[in-house]
């Protein structure tokens, strides 16, 4: 018998602090698998966000930096420009990338920085206690929208990936999901492509990952995946955006 599935080398075997059923754990593994498959572990530098994934550097076995909340793409820009031979990526939540960091996101994309972005959209601020995020769905209850998101009060779910598609510096945008094993495999292919584009010098690539936060959605882990399948992906359609 030989091993056909195990922890990829770039992922530490230490247990994570994530809640049971949290999508961050799956996404961390996918990134590690892609880095292993592409053989780029020795030259990859990650920039971790502020959010539940703030200590991603404790879980990955390659070089990582940390950025102030929302500034991951500014930090990544500096690293990549100083060391263009390195493979540099950011890993950011919706609060990080599409609220406090909207400015950095748009300008890094518009400059066409040769970077890869893994954007974890869980429609919530997980780390701080389940507050409304720019990507929270209309009607979704959060700790700061107890009666559900109201378009008159909070505006509409922000489709930052579709907005970025307008920028000529952006080479690749795809929205994927973690709601079943088949979708997880598609998510891995998209992340691989975002890294491959950087290896080929093609410019800014971003993969938006619809990811469960069972804790602040108030659902069991399986119900959270089914909510992505039945509700969330209607607002955030899967597939290639650019």
């Amino acid at each position: 018998m030989h091993k056909v599935f195990s922890v990829p080398d770039p992922l530490r075997k230490t247990p994570t602090h994530y809640c049971p059923g949290c999508g961050h754990g799956i996404a961390h593994r996918l990134v590690a698998e892609v880095i292993q498959d592409l053989g780029i572990r020795g030259k990859t530098i990650a920039v971790a966000p502020v959010g539940c994934a703030v200590v991603a550097y404790d879980y990955w076995k390659f070089d990582c930096s940390e950025a102030p909340h929302g500034r991951a793409l500014a930090v990544a820009t500096a690293i990549k420009r100083m060391q263009p031979e390195k493979i540099v990526f950011t890993y950011q939540g919706d609060g990080d990338l599409a609220a406090i960091g909207t400015n950095e996101t748009i300008h890094a994309a518009n400059r066409g920085e040769n970077l890869s972005v893994v954007f974890i959209n869980n429609a919530i601020y997980g780390m701080t206690g389940g507050q409304l995020a720019p990507t929270t769905l209309l009607g979704q209850k959060t700790s700061t929208s107890a009666a559900g998101r109201d378009k008159k009060l909070h505006g509409y779910p922000l489709k930052i990936s579709e907005m970025l598609a307008l920028l000529p510096g952006v080479c690749y945008l795809e929205r994927v999901s973690l709601h079943n094993p088949g979708e997880v495999l598609k998510a891995k292919s998209a992340i691989r492509r975002a890294f491959q584009n950087q290896l080929e010098g093609l410019g800014f690539s971003l993969v938006e990952v619809l990811s469960p936060c069972p804790t602040y959605w108030g659902l069991s882990p399986r119900e959270a995946l089914d909510w992505i399948r039945d509700v969330m992906q209607k607002e955030f359609p899967l597939g290639r955006i650019k």
């Binding site: 056909v4 599935f5 247990p15 994570t16 809640c19 049971p20 799956i26 079943n180 997880v184 882990p221």
Partner: protein, 67 residues
């Protein structure tokens, strides 16, 4: 037949693997792991299809598969 090995102390008892296994051979254990959580175990009498679905969905990378 494939063989599934689950790291019970890393398992957080999310039961996603249980819900996706097409053979229904992963079960919640009545015992608790070091974290005090109900881990999951494979029914030793079950026959694993080696489809990898449990391992692919596990958020905590607790599952190893041998073929």
């Amino acid at each position: 037949m494939a063989k599934v090995v689950i790291d019970r102390d890393k398992c957080k008892g999310c039961f996603l693997c249980v819900s996706f296994c097409p053979k229904g051979i992963i079960k919640k254990s009545a015992r608790l792991n070091k974290k005090g959580l109900n881990f999951v175990e494979v029914d030793p009498k079950g026959s694993c299809a080696g489809c990898l679905q449990c391992a692919v969905i596990c958020p905590d990378c607790c599952i190893e598969i041998y073929k």
